[in-house]
Amino acid sequence: MARKLPSKDVVIIGLGWTGSILAHELTDEGLDVVAIERGPWRDAPTDFPTTYAQDELRYRIRHDLFLRPEQTTFTFRNKMNQQALPIRSWGAFMPMNGVGGGGVHWNAETWRFLPSDFVLKTHLSQRYGASFLPEDMTIQDYGVTYDDLEPHYDQFEYLCGTSGAAGNLKGKILEGGNPFEGPRSRPYPTPPQAQPFSHTLFGKAARELGYKPFPQPSGNLSQAYVNPLGVRLGPCTYCGFCEWFGCGNYSKASPQTTILPVLVRKSNFSYRTECEVTRINVDDSGKRATGVTFVDTSGEEWEQPADLVILAAFTVFNVQLLLLSRIGKPYDPVANQGVIGRNFTHQTISDAIGFFDKDKFNFNPFIASGSIGMCIDEFNGDNFDHGPLGFVGGGYIGQVQTNGRPIQTNLVPPGTPRWGAKWKSAVRDNYLSTVIPGTGVHGSFYSYRDVYLDLDPLYKDRFGRPLMRMTIDFHDNELKQNAFLTDKFAEIIKAMGAKEVVKQTRKGPYDVTKYQTTHLCGGAIMGTDPSTSALNRYLQSWDVPNLFVMGATAFPQNAGYNPTGTVGALAYWSAEAIRTQYLKKPGPLVHA
């Protein structure tokens, strides 16, 4: 029997980016807020000290910062007719754990989606006709527009101090920025990061091929910055230990370096770490959340009543809690009905490796940051004519090499032996003169009827709750998209002067063992129709109006960008709706 705690105005599940933003906004509103976090407390100078944070073995290879699969995991399969098996070591993505969430270990690539990405179904149907889209593709409009979100993109970027070059300032296209981006109301808070040699060379080659390269927008800052909350960040040192690592240098925007120092000083904010929420409780009507139940490390079960519940965990856990709490109708891909679990997506990533003459090129690849690089956006979204190409979607492509870390930076030209003296000598010869962009092609992943999340019928967690089951595979549309983009990318790498280019075009089936990105999206999507979306345009549950669900969970499909900028903008958008509309008149903000 759960022990009942005194009621709070707001309970937030998960204290990552969105949990921190919502906690800050709602405590500013005067509400009494408690955040419940499954993982440990984490702070920049003590948990990622510069004295040992740059430890590739500990953090990259052994996954030190991440959720331990023995605590909970997912099951995975490609196709609906397969038996899903539990993931026992993380591969394709890295589920975060602990205060700061993914904001601790991200690369800090801070993009905005294109205006057309938010009205994707309408836009593509109008331009190419509805029949141009694959029959089983289930893309939708977001229900919110770029113009709605622009002030909130701006809020998130100014919170983070994002470094970049504006390409479209209030409709005016500016040289040096991304000419395809939606209009922004003001420049980035800080100028772009400096670009090392290989990244600069990519920009030059792309320009010579007629593209308009621009520096990647970066949450690793080009210079010291103080954000509107009064919290300070320092300049990035280009150490190349960003993704998978925490930054103790105060250079990478994270909840720890932007919000938490202010949040923890507020008397109406409290938090519990190492406490796992097992259920969102609803009353007998099923229409009202009454709070959450969580379990501490002693196995003690507690009930935290609250008037408002903010679900701000990682995508898959958001969906799992909704299903386990019986909120919203579970998605059934056969009947094509229900909403919780539908439109699950990821990212379509590939690369092209360039081997250069070691006597002419010394790239010093270790000088980098997680969001360094020069990119082009000519092949993102619908920035190019898909008519003759037979697919939809796209992505940014760029030399975005984040590091030259010793354990994993050892690519050698094809034909080199896999081990032994010749391999060693090839590693030595190529380390400084190889371009390994990593996520050089960062493609969209659109949604399909048979790519979804549901509760596994067989495997259970330590509480006896079913694990989440992922059913995910690449469809032809994404593979075609990727082949096209990878070719374009390889052309630019070749034009940089590479003597040999190795294309790593994405092939099916979806492989859960190889890292791609942690951009799992969808499963409880936003939209305008309760029969095809779990959340309304304010991220409010259609079924339980005092429940709001944050994060990329709400994306109806994933665009060709890193999601965090949009996740942050949506969080601020939702917080504003709660502050200015919901609190005045609690209840559904949209009547469908």
């Binding site: 702070d43 100078p45 000290p49 510069t50 010291a224 009064g230 300070r232 320092g234 105060y250 000083r265």
Partner: protein, 427 residues
């Protein structure tokens, strides 16, 4: 019984502190009510002034256990002679000061005499508080009358023999205690006088920053030249260019006291607590006054030693360690990032003759204080596990003799001693 005791207390107080009692009479409050106080509980202005003065005096630092009931006492104060525990100064009649007359209160505050006439230990900084005006003292009392009475018996004297014999303080007072209110210097500005009043009186800055004699009295010939206590070196706060605040503007000092940070340095340890509990809550005008006064204090006359040559082995090794371990935050030029990472090139602590704090921060790491104005609270990691005594000494020697600084080299033995004291203290 309580009444009788109160009377007895009142008569004793009259004996030990006639002067103060006359003061009370002089402002027309001769009637002693049963609780001892004569102050008007509706005098909001006085109560609010008293609250602010208690912030200035950092009274809660010793009289409030962190997270505990305000002013209920019980916090241990580490002195070179042993532990003294902060008294309960809530209006509780049994265990606090509720039964004290105003005269007794003023006597304790300004003369170091308890309500039974016993000697207080100067852990209660009455040698400084004696400069507090009677009006300010009574304002403090007026405020204290309004806080929640807490029944909390506190045994203040936990000193070992022979220091536990309070009567010894008579001799100590004869040597080191000069009673008397602050006397303004009419030749100086009102701002300077306000600063002097705060620094020398309620602010009791000398308690940490003035060197002490073997008996723990202030070495007034070297007032504010810095003193080692509780494992830290409270730095020179005179206008000394080398190791004091001579290189800081008045605004730099005020910003430091207000936010714990400025473009040069950041606060941690005991001073961090002072800033959190006291100076961050003081008015900008008072902080500027304090800065104005400190800037008027002459520094030392000794000139710094010649900087070590970059070719010295310790400098070469220190420079290499610095580039690897320190430059990411503090920069290759030692300038740091204003308000985030201290400037090693400009921070006087780096050049301090007593390197205690410098060594300690390197070994233990440090967290700068969070304040409303500067909530970031950046931290430096511990290097104790990473650098040997020799390496730590080399890198410290390097930063003390680079970018225009010069200071005596740090010896590996000094680092070893600090490391040992860290281990002893569970650090």
């Amino acid at each position: 019984m309580p009444d009788e005791r109160a009377r007895r207390i009142a008569s004793l107080a009259a004996v030990v502190s006639l002067l103060a009692a006359f003061g009370v009479t002089a402002i027309g409050r001769a009637q002693t009510n049963p609780s001892g106080t004569t102050l008007d509980p509706q005098n909001f202005g006085q109560i609010e002034r008293g609250r602010y003065l208690m912030v200035v005096g950092d009274c809660s630092s010793c009289h409030t256990v962190p997270g505990g009931e305000p002013f209920a006492g019980g916090r241990s104060i580490e002195t070179p002679f042993g532990v003294v525990v902060g008294a309960n100064i809530t209006p509780d009649r049994e265990t606090g000061i509720g039964a004290w007359s105003d005269a007794m209160f003023l006597s304790a505050l300004r003369e170091g005499k308890g309500h039974r006439g016993e000697f207080l230990y100067p852990a209660m900084p009455y040698p400084y508080y004696t400069k507090v005006t009677e009006r300010d003292g009574l304002d403090i009392r007026a405020y204290l009358n309004t806080v929640k009475p807490v029944h909390n018996p506190v045994v203040s004297n936990k000193l070992p023999f022979p220091f536990d014999v309070r009567e010894e303080m008579a001799g100590w007072n004869a040597l080191y205690f000069t009673s008397g209110e602050f006397k303004p210097d009419s030749a100086k500005s009102a701002e300077w006088n306000r600063g002097a009043y705060l620094v020398e009186g309620l602010g009791h800055c000398g308690a940490c920053h003035t060197p002490k004699t073997a008996l723990g009295g202030d070495d007034l010939a070297h007032a504010f030249h810095g003193y080692r206590l509780q494992g830290w070196f409270a730095p020179n706060i005179t206008d000394d260019k080398e190791s004091g605040v001579g290189g800081w503007s008045i605004d730099d000092i005020a910003a430091y006291l207000k936010s714990g940070h400025n473009a040069i340095s950041a606060s941690t340890g005991i001073m961090g607590e002072e800033i959190s509990l006291s100076s961050s809550q003081m008015t900008d005008a008072d902080l500027k006054a304090i800065a104005t006064y400190l800037k008027s204090l002459p520094g030392q006359t000794t000139s710094p030693p010649a900087p070590l040559s970059p070719s010295e082995p310790a400098m070469a090794a220190g420079g290499a360690i610095y580039a690897d371990e320190c430059s990411a935050c503090h920069g290759m030029g030692g300038k740091g990032v204003p308000y985030l990472f201290p400037s090693l090139a400009a921070s006087p602590n780096v050049r301090s003759a007593d390197p205690t704090s410098l060594i300690r921060v390197l070994l233990e790491g440090a967290r700068s204080v969070a304040t409303p104005g500067e909530p970031t609270s950046p931290g430096m990691p511990s290097f104790a596990w990473k650098l040997t005594d020799e390496e730590a000494a080399a890198v410290l020697t390097y930063i003390r003799n680079s970018w225009g600084s010069s200071a005596p080299a740090i010896d590996a033995r000094q680092v070893g001693e600090e490391r040992a004291s860290m281990v002893r203290n569970g650090g």
